[in-house]
Amino acid sequence: MAISIRNVTKTFGSFAALEDVSLEVEYGSLTALLGPSGSGKSTLLRVIAGLEQPDAGEIVISGEDATGVAPQNRGVGFVFQHYAAFKHMTVRDNVAFGLTIRKRPKAEISARVDELLELVQLQPFARRYPAQLSGGQRQRMALARALAVEPRVLLLDEPFGALDARVRAELREWLRRLHEEVHVTTVFVTHDQEEAMEVADQVALMNKGRIEQVGGPRELYEQPETEFVMSFIGPVNRVGDSWVRPHDLDLLPEPVEDADEAMIERIVHLGFEVRVELVCADGTKLRAQITREHCEELELEAGQILWVRADRERIFA
């Protein structure tokens, strides 16, 4: 395993940031630590990097115990949410920093930096200062800087959190492609489930300092083990004791067995799909998601009465 996290615990004062967390990260994988704020995901990432010391447990990187090792000797690349650009250095010097510290020959540094600047598409900006770059460009620079030292693992702390939605979507896709090219084991922290699902091949969902579930994006979506996983990954309806996804609600014009009567409150057109907001006879509110075609077939409109049947309900103990 590229990274093994074993029974790690970390508290800040009386706040338990991590409670007995264990996680395995495979070589070459792209893992997302997903969770709401305060769930401990950033702390876990910082513990892997050595920027925080765990109170208990161990961190093994590439088979070597790294628990007490200083960050500079761990062979990790770290990318911060707010870029942590070296403001007094040009883009080129920023990227070269790790190699300069290692006192590599000038020619080698120069060649490697050129290569990386090309990889992150920043060659034209090599002589600029970070203050003259956009947020997206600064983050690409930070990535190139982290990759320059050929880290064993690349750690990204909410790397796109400070960027606007469009740049974020671009960078997400770009990160995915970069990972296919470079293939360095990567762990990134995010609070955005869509980002985790889109980019990662393994997602560890965290809540209150613990890992709730680890698995592929599809696994987490289709086989959630807890209520929290179900409700965090994708929208849900709560019906009595059970949970159901909006697209797993069948809308029927005629009553059938197991179907509840409901009235349409509102129809929201989202493009390809349509969200139908319903209220049941007992006052329960439901959201169903259907295709536009299906919506036209049923000739739905607000105020209409129809019958709702849950297709795949889940009950968590």
């Binding site: 960050p71 500079q72 690349g77 911060f80 942590a84 070296f86 403001k87 920093f97 510290i101 203050a131």
Partner: protein, 263 residues
């Protein structure tokens, strides 16, 4: 009209309080001619005082710069017991009257002081000699670098330093390559303020110097000594020299002002 009124008040206030008295000092210095003024600042006593002032500044300013940066790093980057105490004690020299500082030093290092016997045995003379004057000056000008660097350190945060460490930089390398360049303007301001304070210091140095003309007179003490000796040209020409040193430090401060590229 109101605009001009405000401007007039501000300028008038500055003129009455600062410009006019200083101008008078210059006028009195050169009243008897340039040659006379030149002669009185090139007397052995005046030259020695100038040299002593510069010497003390050359010792006190680097000491306070190094200490100030370390102290600021400790205050901002480390959490330790007595943190608040350090933060408060650093400001003490600003609050204490310089005379009290001088007297305190005599209590410790004077002949009947706490360390007096030890120092006498070692044959080291602190009070009424250069070491005491340096101590007094260091004490008085201690807070300036700390106070300039602390907010800069707070503002830049520690992410750049953490990034450097994950990239393989040791603590020392991180300090030289990342932290120091980031706080250089803060240090520069602090050094300028320390220098100005050091050159202008009078009270504490006066207490510990013993006023030995030609031996322990700094430029400020020389001004006072000339004044007591009813030597107006000597007094005011030495004052002009002090003022010129102050102007030079202010110019240096303007040179150090951050350039546009620094956001």
């Amino acid at each position: 009209m109101g605009r001009y009124g405000l401007r007039f008040v501000a300028l008038g206030y500055l003129a009455a309080l600062v410009a006019f008295p200083v101008a008078l000092v210059f006028w009195r210095a050169f009243e008897a001619g340039l040659g006379e003024a030149w002669a009185s600042v090139t007397t052995p006593g005046a030259l020695h005082a100038l040299w002593l002032s510069v010497l003390i500044a050359c010792i006190a300013v680097p000491l306070n710069t190094i200490f100030g940066v370390l102290c600021a790093l400790a205050i901002v980057r480390r959490r330790f017991r007595g943190h608040g105490l350090v933060n408060t004690v650093v400001d003490l020299p600003l609050a204490l009257s310089p005379v009290v500082v001088g007297l305190a030093l005599i209590l410790v290092y004077g002949r009947n002081g706490w360390l007096g016997d030890t120092l006498a045995d070692l044959g080291v003379r602190v009070i009424f000699a250069l070491p005491g004057m340096v101590l007094a000056t260091v004490f008085i000008s201690l807070p300036f670098v700390v106070r300039e660097v602390v907010p800069v350190l707070r503002e830049i945060g520690d992410e750049q330093e953490q990034a450097a460490s994950t990239l393989g930089a040791s603590g020392w390398q991180t300090f030289w390559r990342i932290t120091l360049p980031a706080i250089r303007w803060g240090i520069a301001y602090g050094v300028v303020l320390t220098t100005a304070r050091t050159l202008g210091e009078f009270g504490a140095v006066s207490v510990v110097s013993g006023h030995l003309a030609g031996r322990t007179n700094t430029l400020t003490l020389h001004v006072e000594e000339r004044f007591q000796s009813f030597d107006p040209v000597g007094t005011y020409s030495a004052s002009v020299l002090l003022a010129l040193l102050a102007v030079a430090t202010l110019l240096a401060m303007n040179l150090f002002r951050p350039k546009e590229e620094e956001e």
